[in-house]
């Protein structure tokens, strides 16, 4: 009758022994302790999720909805941003404009001030062409919306763009798909010719190829024009087509619709805009300085005048304005979408609390055989994170899917980034940790005696 392990557990002659053995040191010294318990926690969590399929499914849905909302919103916003950026840079970073008033006016006072300015004219454009050495190409353009028809086919609103010279097509970033642009002399003559966008062909020549449209006549704003060519599709911006256009020579436009030189606030005809393009981006600043000087001279402005009397704008300025105007809206939108993720987190917390209550006895048993607080905490945290991480993966997929459907409906390119997928799974896992922490902590702190008594 002798103990199994007396020799290893009884220290010899230990009458002077007064201090406790440092247990944490012993635990840390064993590299398998954490690993074994974590594996156990992992399989227990997996088993628990499998055991309560309906509950797991409902929790998953909570998280999936949240992640879907966030991922869809982020993806759509990124897509929109990219589209806007591409649209405004289609003319390139070498283009800037001179016009009577800027594209964006933020106050009534400014609006009145801008309207008092002298209009920008074709003569201004010619002066710039003549005097600006850093400039490469100059063109003028004027826009208005007009109805169009061909036979029985009618379109209520079409963008009519009077441009000159023909190199203005290149500044606009427009290339020909079928037919040709007009020549310099044809343009100067003010002939009734036009270059149309592919949408115009689709609308006015249903079921006909673009080649068939070339050489035919259409009516725009009550006048007849012969189609010389069809330009290549430019795509949509914010759901608005840029291919529903009719280009006509500036001289023709002036003759037919007039150009607003009057200074009226809202004239039915458009306002002249001078487009200037440099050969490379690094010449842009020099060109802008030259053009500003030329224009100020022509307006008789001295250094004392604060106001130029015209607006010099690059597309980048507009893009910056767009970003600053929309970034707050985006943040709010993402924030609102994130609320559903918070709700998902609360669902997880609720379920975890139920799970802890249900498994009080199990926790008691585990503690009785030596599970430490951390072991129990880890077990429930792993369970919570497992649900939310799986929910995150599905949420990213459905989020991308939702964004794809919306993009398909509105019509803009989509950007599926790995970054946002990682973000979606990461954020949902963090939601798991945050919402699992309190229930897990409650489980870890359970008194083993009380826990064992539970049923």
């Amino acid at each position: 009758m002798f103990p199994r392990n007396a020799s290893e557990t009884i220290p010899p002659s230990d009458s002077g022994f007064t201090s406790r053995i440092s247990l944490p040191a012993r635990i840390r010294a064993n590299p398998f302790v954490r690993l074994a318990a974590i594996w156990e926690a992992f399989f227990v969590a997996l088993g628990s999720l499998r055991q309560n399929k309906l509950r797991t499914a409902l929790t998953l849905i909570g998280i999936i909805v949240g992640v879907t909302a966030v991922i869809a919103v982020v993806t759509i916003i990124k897509g929109l941003d990219q589209t806007v950026a591409q649209t405004f840079s289609s003319q390139g970073s070498t283009v800037f404009t001179i016009s009577k008033r800027p594209q964006v006016i933020t106050s009534r006072e400014d609006f009145i001030k801008y309207n008092r300015r002298k209009p920008v004219t074709q003569e201004d454009a010619e002066a710039i062409t003549r005097l600006c050495t850093a400039c490469w190409r100059t063109g003028v353009s004027v826009n208005s919306i007009q109805p169009a028809k061909r036979g029985d086919q009618k379109v209520d609103a079409i963008q009519v763009r009077g441009v000159s010279p023909p190199s203005m097509f290149e500044i606009d970033g427009v290339t020909i798909d079928a037919g040709r642009f007009w020549t310099e002399s044809e343009g100067a003559a003010g002939g009734d010719v036009c270059v149309v966008g592919p949408d115009v062909v689709t609308n006015l020549f249903p079921n006909e190829s673009i080649d068939r449209a070339v050489g035919q006549d259409i009516w725009v704003g009550g006048h007849r024009y012969t189609i010389l060519g069809v330009h290549q599709a430019l795509g949509k911006i914010l759901g608005l087509s840029r291919d529903n256009r009719v280009y006509i020579p500036f001289a023709t436009y002036k003759k037919r619709f007039g150009v607003d030189f009057s200074g009226q606030s809202f004239s039915p005809s458009g306002v002249l805009v001078v487009f200037i393009q440099t050969q490379s981006a690094d010449q842009l600043e020099a060109a802008q300085d030259q053009v500003r000087t030329i224009m100020r001279n022509r307006r008789g402005k001295t250094f004392k005048d604060d106001d130029d009397g015209f607006a010099l704008e690059t597309q980048e300025v507009f893009l910056k304005l767009y970003s600053s105007a929309t970034s707050n809206i985006y943040l709010v939108t993402i924030g609102v979408a994130a609320i559903s993720l918070v709700v998902g987190g609360i669902v997880v917390m609720n379920i975890m609390l139920v799970s802890v209550t249900e498994r009080t006895k199990e926790i008691g048993i585990r503690k009785a055989v030596g599970a430490r607080r951390n072991d129990i905490l880890t077990q429930f945290l792993i369970e919570a994170v497992m649900v939310t991480a799986i929910g995150g993966v599905f949420g990213v997929l459905t989020g991308f899917g939702t964004a794809w459907l919306i993009a398909l409906a509105i019509g803009f390119p989509l950007l599926f980034s790995a970054w946002s997928a990682v973000l979606g799974v990461g954020v949902s896992s963090i939601v798991g940790v945050v919402s699992g922490l309190w229930p897990a902590w409650r489980a870890a702190r359970l008194d083993p005696i009380e826990a064992l008594r539970a049923e």
Partner: protein, 254 residues
Amino acid sequence: MTETPIATATATSVVTKPNLVSPDGKIQVLIAMQNIWKTYDMGAEKVHALHGVSFEVHRGEYVAITGPSGSGKSTLMNLIGCLDTPSQGDYWLNGKNVSEMDDDELARIRNQEVGFVFQTFNLLARATALHNVELPLIYGGIPSAKRHEMAKQALGEVDLTDRMMHRPNELSGGQRQRVAIARALVNHPSILLADEPTGALDTATSYDIMNLFEKLHEDGNTIILVTHEHDIAARAHRVISIRDGLIEKDEQIK
């Protein structure tokens, strides 16, 4: 009262470590309870579950703790099993002063030094017999291959080799209790602590389990049995009777 010649546990405020080995080295003190008090704060009044209990258990002993319900024997068992700490007094288990330990240190002691057998078995319902037996080894940090081997061996010792992959609901009461005993023994603890181990079993199965305890005792295990049944207590070699939070009787019967 059985006076042992080894230790004189004095109830003073100074922590005194008892001598653990007799001068001839033959008797080793495994448990030394020194003036243990357990007080529960029930709001206005304090309830004393134990009023200064002192006793020792030597390695290899087979002790039954008996007493009517409310006598404090469950409280004592929780203290011996390191599920709880005393309000006052010192408890030395295998040379360690358990009364001063925190939760995690107690968990470690439960894992290494104590093997529990409960009245209601307390097995994990969803886990196989093998996994249930492995549980203490998991929290003891034993690598899985070694774990399997140890758990299989422990199940073999209680004659359940052919039931290893069964879940508790596929086992009879006696088999469940044997799984629980295998779990209690798998880590080679210093003491095997059984709380009414036959309380949920029929008479025949009860005798089987008691025979198993006897065999384990003959193998050298130290066993402490808590029971209110006299015939069960009579199987032990020493009986400690508790009444009103005090030791009423402590007698060597074999």
